[in-house]
């Protein structure tokens, strides 16, 4: 079967985030980008399906800092082909990126139609749109998101997917292929790949690059102002050595009858 996975680079939100001079976006200079966590799961799910059904997995990403390393790592993990779409403006809204992908995917030789397109079900830096549903709509594919289990019956051209509902409940869906799925979690945690293998992929592998024929569409929403969450505004911060703080907490719990 033929599977396409879309990977996105996002700021590592564990790091300190600083506002840019326009006050409406992050300071790109200081950002460390990592692969969106859900996309790691989408990739893992694709590799698991390939192991079971055979076929190919192609990873597609919009050009971004560090993207080549990420794409080589994908090759080392067992992906067959990696493609980056070049020429995207540095500041791209979600809607802009989604439209660029919708325009760019059909431009990639021998890619579509694929049986399955997998995206992460959400990126960390999200604002206006959700790329998966947007792509599904543009490419005329059915879409289901928040997926944590995928089985495929290739002969019947059907996927059987498990969608997460609140409270730990799941819904089993039957989806006609080709389809686009927004992955929340792969059946098993994303596989680890040793550095030596990544190095080997860098030696022997190739990152294909294409320039899309389409331009990104203008955004439909306008960011007026961005600000840091006032995190410490609410909590009373307890300071001192670990032992002092622990003692203070024990006292607080005692006062509340929690001991």
């Amino acid at each position: 079967m033929k599977i396409v996975v879309l990977l996105k680079m996002v700021p590592d939100v564990v790091e300190e985030l600083e506002l840019g001079p326009d006050g409406r976006s992050l300071d790109l200079e200081l950002l460390r980008l990592i692969i969106n966590e859900r996309d790691e799961h989408a990739l893992e799910q694709a590799l698991l399906l390939k192991e079971r059904h055979g076929g190919t997995v192609t990873v597609v990403a919009l050009d971004a800092p560090e993207i080549d390393d990420v794409l080589f790592t994908a090759l080392a993990r067992g992906v067959d082909r990696v493609v980056k779409i070049e020429g995207a403006p540095e500041t791209l809204t979600t809607h802009g990126a989604a439209s660029l992908l919708a325009g760019g995917l059909p431009d990639i030789p021998d890619l579509l139609p694929a049986d399955l397109l997998l995206t992460g079900c959400q990126a960390m830096d999200d604002l206006d749109a959700q790329t998966g549903p947007f792509l599904a709509q543009r490419l005329g594919l059915p879409y289901v998101g928040v997926i944590s289990g995928v089985e495929v019956d290739l002969e019947a051209q059907r996927a059987f997917v498990s969608k997460e509902y609140p409270g730990g409940m799941h819904g089993d869906f039957e989806v006609t292929l080709p389809a686009l799925l927004g992955i929340q979690a792969a059946a098993t945690a994303p596989r680890y790949v040793p550095v030596a293998k990544v190095r080997a992929a860098m030696q022997s592998g190739e990152v294909e690059a294409i320039s899309p024929s389409a331009q990104p569409e203008p955004p439909l929403v306008e960011v007026l102002k961005m600000m840091k969450l006032e995190a410490a505004g609410h909590a009373e911060m307890l300071e001192g050595s670990v032992e002092e703080v622990a003692g203070r907490v024990a006292e607080l719990l005692g006062e509340r009858g929690l001991l």
Binding site: P11, V13, V14, E16, L17, R24, E37, C121, M124, D125, D126, L127, D128, A129, Q130, F134, Q137, P142, Y143, V144, G145, V146, F160, E164, Y165, P166, G168, M169, H170, D172, F173, E174, V175, T176, G182, Q184, L220, V221, E222, V223, L224, K225, M226, M227, L229, A231, A232, H234, A235, E236, M237, L238, E243, V245, A246, G247, A250, L253, R256, L258
Partner: protein
């Protein structure tokens, strides 16, 4: 004349979800601010009686079809697209939950309409809707406006206090015709109940929750020791579940369990909106995180900027000492 404000009722699991009433309270403010009506859209099959509690709205727009019995995005999006195109509302408030998630993406894509997602608040400024949205895992906030109408607004739980179903008279119901000509390409076969956990997290007075910040699976033990000393249970955030450090039944948040214990200790948890949704109403929240800017501190009552494992260990000892 500006279009009306709509609220999409979340009809799931045999009833109207609480968050719908929160959105109705918010929608009422917006409708009054714009001088328009507040209308609530209810989709379902033989579900008209669910409209009775939606009296906060001026009218219930009700669409009925066997394919609308469960809130599946393909059918819901198709039906909503048609009725939105026909009636031209100004804005549509939709709760951000796992039930509505796919719809929140498909509907704006279908309509070519702006989506303001993860709104924690929405107001009216200069005759247009302006939202306060969460992004970057809850670390940043942005004021965002739509460049056109209808605007689709994904509103987080907790944007307003909910009073539950409206008492008093049932609102007028206006049925609109539903047409779903094509066979669905996505079909819900069945729901699978949550795997029963060994403990009912909602019944615990004390919960010690661990996140990715505890670093290694072995450190779950430190949380277990602390929980035992406090007479509570251990639970966790998504990554901890994904790694297999805890079973799925121990997940707190949007996809997991919603809890309100007397004490919630959040160790190495960043406080992403999806997690916070599940624990924000706890009576006392103590957060331990090495990042002073972690969003968890904005919902916690007490914050400790330290290594979570060190603090859990020291706290277990301090409690043993205090108990004598």
């Amino acid at each position: 004349m500006a279009g009306n404000i709509w609220v999409m009722a979340e009809q799931w699991n045999g009833g109207i979800s609480e968050v719908t009433y929160e959105l109705l309270a918010l929608g009422r403010e917006l409708a009054d601010g714009l001088g328009v009506s507040l209308e609530v859209v209810l989709l379902g099959h033989e579900a008209e009686e669910l409209a009775a509690g939606l009296g906060e709205a001026d009218v219930v727009l009700y669409g009925d079809d066997p394919a609308l019995q469960e809130p599946t995005a393909e059918a819901y999006s198709r039906v909503l697209t048609a009725v939105i195109r026909e009636r031209g509302p100004h804005g549509i408030l939709i709760p951000v939950t796992n039930v509505t998630w796919d719809l929140l993406g498909l509907l704006p894509a279908e309509l070519g309409a702006p989506l303001l997602n993860f709104c924690k608040d929405v107001g009216v400024a200069d005759g247009r809707l302006e939202a306060r949205c969460l992004l970057y895992g809850g670390k940043m906030e942005a004021n965002v406006a739509a460049t056109g109408t209808p605007a689709i607004l994904g509103v987080m739980a907790g944007a307003r206090a909910a009073d539950g179903p409206a008492a008093g008279e049932a609102p007028p119901i206006e049925r609109f015709p539903v047409s779903l000509p094509e066979a669905p390409r996505t079909e819900l076969q069945r729901y699978v109940e949550a795997e029963a956990g060994d403990v009912d997290l909602t019944q615990q007075e004390v919960l010690v929750a661990v996140g990715r910040g505890i670093g290694f699976q072995d450190n779950v033990e430190l949380a277990e020791e602390l929980a035992e000393e406090l007479g509570g249970a251990v639970c966790g955030s998504r990554p901890v579940i994904d790694q297999g450090w805890l079973s799925l039944s121990r997940q707190i948040g949007k996809s997991g369990v919603i809890v309100k214990p007397r004490l919630y200790v959040a160790a190495g948890i960043s406080g992403a909106p999806e997690h916070v949704e599940g624990m924000k109403d706890s009576e006392m929240i103590i957060a331990i995180n090495t990042d002073p800017e972690a969003p968890i501190f904005s919902v916690a009552h007490y914050g400790i900027v330290e290594d979570a494992n060190d603090v859990m260990e020291a706290l277990t000892e301090a409690i043993q000492e205090a108990k004598g």
